[in-house]
């Protein structure tokens, strides 16, 4: 039931919002977000208290991994949705219906058991968000939307080849079967599947869904789309959409590991992870634009997640899953704040944003602190998950890759810290650009609160949840 409510809330809202305006639209938007958040929490509690939740004859299925992702999507959607409603900048036309449709496609992708339907839903995330990327209707945003649509469609089509090959392997081995594309069926059969075919399929799947996850070298659409989209959309894209791509890879990883042994997927994931961190560090050393900096930082962090999954072991997988959540909260908040900065300064060029802390006391300070959390400083959650991932690297004997990752982290750290220093303190301007209000601090307080929880004091159940997700994904 909670699963159906979770999916129906944004879908119904999307349908209703196409015909609404003014205060009524506001009400439906906020109500949908509240229902979404509630259903996400109920689902998480249900799954945490044991077993899996299914609906529609098993077509929809939420295990620990699904619930983790669905909860994250609901959380980031609520943060971004409230900011979108409050800023009022995104008022006209298609924004709100597409916003909710976008949320629906992401939720469907992480809660369906059918890997074909998952593919359709992930392709749907691109289609729902193309016009959101081009919302500002400038030349740059148009070009970003075009690149986004083309590159992600090609990428996702490659993932379709992988899905077809997995299905083929299934049929060859076991003949026609009603639910051959269901993940639960596939996992049961995986040990008997032809290993070479499954490996080939995984390459296509990793490149395809890796494109959606923004892993280098398939990341080229990401900085453009994430920096041109309106801030709430950037928050969703960077915060959770990338992780949905990772989620898709995670569904196939145990299948490949069972069919062909774990070495194959690990090597590929570590390679893509190091490549992503390298590309990101090269840009982050001298960032020029706030939102592009945040976008490249997403490439870096998703690379780190890929590394964690590649390193495997108890710490690697759990660290990667935790890092997905930490990164989602921190990055989504930073994108929301960067939207306010762009509105106040009329630009998000780092060279033009000066005296941020003095001009925007709430947003500026919030931006600085959450950015420090994103950079991996204790006591925030990203520090813990990064230690878990890198620790797993050393423990599992990936000395070269872990050492390199550590150096790349330091490079990105230095570059972003320098950019932050310039924005925050250089030449304070005469005018104050923000009214101080407690509402403006809400997303920052929520984000920092959550990051402190994952960093300092794990609530009861978090460790158990991570262990159960690791069991789903396999070491």
């Amino acid at each position: 039931m909670s699963l159906l409510v979770l999916l129906l809330a944004p879908l119904v809202a999307a349908a209703l919002l196409t015909r609404m305006a003014g205060a009524l639209r506001h009400l439906v938007h906020v109500a949908a977000l509240a229902v979404l958040l509630g259903a996400g929490a109920v689902l998480a509690l249900k799954v945490a208290s044991g077993g899996t939740v299914t609906a529609l004859d098993g077509l929809l299925r939420a295990d620990a991994l699904s619930a983790w992702m669905a909860g994250l999507i609901a959380l980031v959607a609520a943060l971004a949705g409230i900011e979108a409603a409050a800023s009022g900048a995104e008022a006209p036309g298609r924004f709100f219906p597409l916003f909710h449709l976008f949320i629906f496609t992401m939720l469907l992708a992480v809660t369906t058991d059918d890997l074909g339907l998952m593919w359709v839903a992930i392709e749907g995330t691109t289609l729902a968000s193309v016009f959101l990327v081009n919302h500002h209707r400038t030349r740059a945003s148009l070009e970003a939307a075009y690149k986004y649509l083309l590159i992600c469609s090609v990428g996702i089509a490659l993932a379709f080849i992988g899905t077809v090959l997995v299905y083929f392997a299934d049929l060859q081995q076991f003949g026609a079967e009603a639910h051959a594309l269901r993940w639960t069926t596939l996992l049961r059969w995986a040990p008997q599947l032809p290993p070479r075919v499954v490996e080939l399929a995984f390459v296509f799947l990793l490149v395809g869904y890796g494109t959606k996850a923004g892993l280098a070298p398939m990341h080229t659409w990401l900085p453009d789309a994430h920096s041109e989209a309106p801030a709430p959309v950037s928050a969703l894209m960077s915060g959770v959409l990338l992780s949905v791509g990772v989620y898709a890879v995670l569904r196939f990883k145990p299948v490949v590991d069972l069919a062909a042994g774990p070495g194959f997927s690990r090597r590929l994931l570590v390679t893509l992870g190091v490549a992503s961190m390298t590309v990101a560090a090269a840009f982050l050393w001298t960032p020029t634009h706030v939102k592009r900096m945040l976008a490249y930082s997403s490439v870096e962090h998703l690379g780190l997640v890929a590394l964690g999954l590649g390193f495997g072991g108890v710490w690697g997988t759990a660290g990667a899953v935790l890092h997905v959540a930490n990164h989602a909260v921190a990055k989504a908040t930073l994108f929301l704040l960067s939207g306010r900065i762009r509105d106040a300064y009329g630009s998000a060029d780092i060279a033009l944003v000066r005296g941020l802390v003095a001009a925007m006391p709430v947003t500026g300070r919030g931006f600085a602190v959450v950015l420090l959390a994103l950079l991996g400083l204790p006591p925030f959650g990203l520090f813990i998950s990064e230690v878990m991932i890198l620790g797993a690297g050393f423990q599992e004997g990936w000395w070269g890759a872990t050492g390199l990752a550590l150096i790349l982290l330091v490079v990105a750290f230095g570059g972003m810290l320098r950019a932050l220093h310039r924005m925050a303190h250089d030449a304070a301007p005469a005018t104050r650009r923000e009214d101080v209000s407690w509402q403006a601090a809400v997303p920052v307080v929520i984000a920092l609160g959550l990051l402190l929880v994952t960093g300092l004091a794990w609530p009861p159940g978090l460790a158990a949840a991570l262990a159960r997700i690791s069991a789903v994904v396999g070491g």
């Binding site: 059918d114 074909g116 339907l117 593919w119 359709v120 392709e123 749907g124 289609l127 193309v130 016009f131 081009n134 030349r139 740059a140 148009l142 070009e143 970003a144 939307a145 075009y146 690149k147 649509l149 083309l150 469609s153 090609v154 089509a157 379709f160 080849i161 077809v164 090959l165 299905y167 083929f168 392997a169 049929l171 060859q172 051959a180 594309l181 032809p194 070479r196 075919v197 490996e199 080939l200 453009d224 041109e228 020029t288 592009r292």
Partner: protein, 213 residues
């Protein structure tokens, strides 16, 4: 069945090569329509001979979508562009050579699949994959937006052929979703392309330079 599917897949692949060779836009569009029709017939043939009525339906929908609705959208997108966007004197020799290499590569990559396949259609699987690779090649090397879109659609055609030959079609729900996705992609592309034309008065890719760093 083997002979029929091999022949149809071979002709569809030949159409992809023809598409690499042709330079004029109406010519390329006609080749695309022919290729789509061939693949629709392929799906219907496999469906009829293997006793999968759903695949016949899929073939009919594919025919309507790829040989009628989408070409019409492409024609709307191309309205007003010059017939031959390429520079004069440009030859297709190198592109054809690359496409030929891709066919060899397709056989090499698909080796594990053909080795483990027991289907009568197995022999044609690399042909369909080669078609997809050539489509990807056309897409990546396209000099204008129309080239990108057409390449992408040929790529999609190849994947459709691959799915038909390797699995006799995916479950109905997934096929329906895929068709919907392709249709929406093309319609979105049309919207974006119209806007690009309004902004830049051209569809050439080198005009799109707003986001270079």
């Amino acid at each position: 069945m083997t002979a029929a599917t091999n022949l149809l897949a071979f002709f569809a692949l030949a159409a992809a090569l023809l598409l690499v060779w042709r330079r004029s836009w109406p010519g390329r569009l006609r080749v695309f329509v022919v290729q789509s029709a061939l693949l629709a017939i392929l799906a219907m043939t496999v469906g009829a001979l293997a006793g999968r009525p759903i695949l016949v339906v899929v073939g009919v929908v594919f025919l309507a979508l790829k040989a009628w609705i989408i070409p019409r959208a492409l024609q709307r997108m191309a309205a007003g562009t010059p017939v031959r966007p390429g520079a004069p004197g440009q030859s297709s020799g190198l592109a054809l050579l690359a496409a030929g290499t891709l066919i060899v590569a397709a056989y090499a990559v698909m080796l594990p699949v053909t080795a483990s396949a027991t289907l009568p259609t197995a022999g044609a699987i690399p042909l369909a994959f080669a078609m997809a690779l050539i489509g990807l090649f056309v897409c990546v090397t396209g000099r204008d937006v129309l080239g990108h879109v057409l390449g992408f659609l040929v790529f999609e055609n190849g994947i459709f052929g691959l799915a038909v030959l390797a699995t006799y079609g995916l479950p109905g729900l997934v096929e329906a979703g895929v068709f919907l996705d392709v249709l929406v992609i093309v319609l979105l592309m049309e919207g974006v392309v119209m806007e690009i034309r309004r902004e830049h008065d051209s569809l050439a890719v080198d005009r799109l330079g707003e986001l270079r760093e």
